[in-house]
Symmetry: C2
Subunit: 297 residues, 2 copies
Amino acid sequence: MFKGLSAFPLTPITSAGIDRQGFIKILERLTAAEVDSVGILGSTGSYAYLTREQRKHVAAVAKQHTGDIPMMICVGAISTEQVLYLAEDAQQLGASALLLPPLSYQRLNDDEVFCLFETVTQRASVPVCVYDNPGTTHFMFSDELHGHIAALRGVKSIKIPGVPSQPEAALARVRNLRGKIPHDVTIGISGDDSAATGLNAGCEVWYSVCGGLFPEVAKEITQAAAAKDSQKVMECSARLEPLWALFRKHGGSIRVIAAAAGIIGLTNTDCLPRPLLPLSADNIAEIAGVLKQLALN
Amino acid sequence: MFKGLSAFPLTPITSAGIDRQGFIKILERLTAAEVDSVGILGSTGSYAYLTREQRKHVAAVAKQHTGDIPMMICVGAISTEQVLYLAEDAQQLGASALLLPPLSYQRLNDDEVFCLFETVTQRASVPVCVYDNPGTTHFMFSDELHGHIAALRGVKSIKIPGVPSQPEAALARVRNLRGKIPHDVTIGISGDDSAATGLNAGCEVWYSVCGGLFPEVAKEITQAAAAKDSQKVMECSARLEPLWALFRKHGGSIRVIAAAAGIIGLTNTDCLPRPLLPLSADNIAEIAGVLKQLALN
C-alpha cells in the first residue's frame, strides 16, 4: 500500500466539534478519485488536537466512507503509553497501517526514538510508516537512525519531509537514505511543493495534503511518476505553483487547506481546532482566487 | 503567591504507572521546607505525558500532601478545548493558580497565542501564570506579546526562560519586559543555572526544578534575594554549579532530577515516562558523586 498517491485529508473541526458531514464529503472525493491509500489523522487531520475518543470517531467515519482503500492512521502522542492505546484502537477500527511520528515534549535522543519504534512495532499487527516531520515533532532523524528503525520488523515506509529543490541534490538525498534501509521499505515524499522533485528522485509514494482535498490533480502527478514521465511530473506540479506559494506564505498547508475546504463548500472556512485560527477574510479571498485560477473545486 | 521559591517537583512514573508513594515523599520535603508555593505538573512534573485522569490524580495527591502551601497547576495541552477541561479540573482540586504554556503542534502565531490566553483567563477563577518555555513549546514570545497578554484580567506572573549570564544583560532583559507589563504582574525566573542572575536582575520568584527536590538549598538563594544580598545569591548558586553542569550535560534538568530522586531513595532511578529513558549507570554514578560532594540528600 505504500506507493502512488496517499491522500491526507483535513479533519474539519468547528465550534460544534468534529464536522462529520464535512469530513464525509472530503472522504467521498478521495474514494471517487480512487486514491491509492488514505492517511487519516495526519498533521492536516489534526491528530495532535484530538482526544483518544475523538480519534476513534474520526477513524470509524473514515473506514465507513473509504471502503476498500487502504487506510493508514497516525497514532502519534507525546507518551508511549498513549501511542500504544491509539495503535490498538486504530487496528480495531480497520487500519491497514500505522503512521508514527516521534512527537516530543522533552527533547528526545536517538535511543529514545528507536525504543519508541521498537515498542510499537513489537505490539502492532499491521505495518508501520515512520513519520519524519521535524517541523512539528522537533526531532531530527539521521539517516543512520532511519536505517536502524527501518530494519525493525513491521516498518515498511518512511514519510520524509521536503527534499532539496535541485534535482541532483534531491537524488543524492533519496539515494543516501535508500542505501541505509531494507529494499522493501519505501520512501514517501511530503511537503507538497517538493513532491514532484521527490518523486523524480525516486520516492515511491506521495504523502499528500493537496491530494487529501484535490485528489485528481495530485493523482495526475503520481501517475506520471509511475510512468517515469519526469517532465510531466514537473509540469503538473509547476501548474500548481500558486497553491504551493500559498502554503509557503501561511507557514504550512493546514490553514490554506482548511480555508479551501470552506471555499469549495465542504465545511465552514473556520474549521480548525483552537488555538489555531482561520485566516483573515483577505487571505481567504486570495485563496479563492487561486482555486478559481487553477480550476480547483 | 507569585514570589520567593516556587518548587516544581518531579512526578515519578515507573512501569507500574504514577509512583504515588514516591511522589508523596517528594512533596513532604517541600512541605517540611516551607516553600512559598508548589508548581505541580510542570515540565519536570511530566504534565505533557499524562492523561486528563492521570493529571487529576497527581493534583489530588499534591493537594492532600502540601496542605496550605499555594498550589499552581500546569494546564498545558495542544488543544484549547483540553486546556479548558484541565483548568476546570485543577480549580476543582484546589489549585491557587494555573500555569499555561502555549503548547504547539502546528506553529502558532501571536494572535493564536493571545486568543488562547484570552479564552482561558475569561473562564478561570484563579490567577494565571504565563509559561514562556520555547525549548518545549517551540513558541517564542516577544515582549510586546507578553505585554498584551499580561494586561488580561487574571494574568499575575510570567515564568521566563533563562536570562543572559552577564548581570548587565540580565538586568536589561528583565527591565525591558517589566516596562511592558502591569506593575502587579511578577516575573519569575526558570532555568536553574541562571536563577541567581535572574533574581539579582529583579525577578521576584524562582520557578525552580532544583527546589522541587532540594528545597533547602534553593530557599537559601531566594531568601538571600529577598534580603537583597546579591553576593550571597551568587555564592549559593556557584556552590551548586556541579549540579547546573549536569543539567547542561543532559540537555535539561528532568533526566538528572529523576536520577537524583532515585539515588536519594525516594523512587526508582528509572522514573521517567516513556519514551524518555533513564540515564546510563555511568551517568547515574556521576550524579551520585555530585550529590555526595554537594551534601544533597
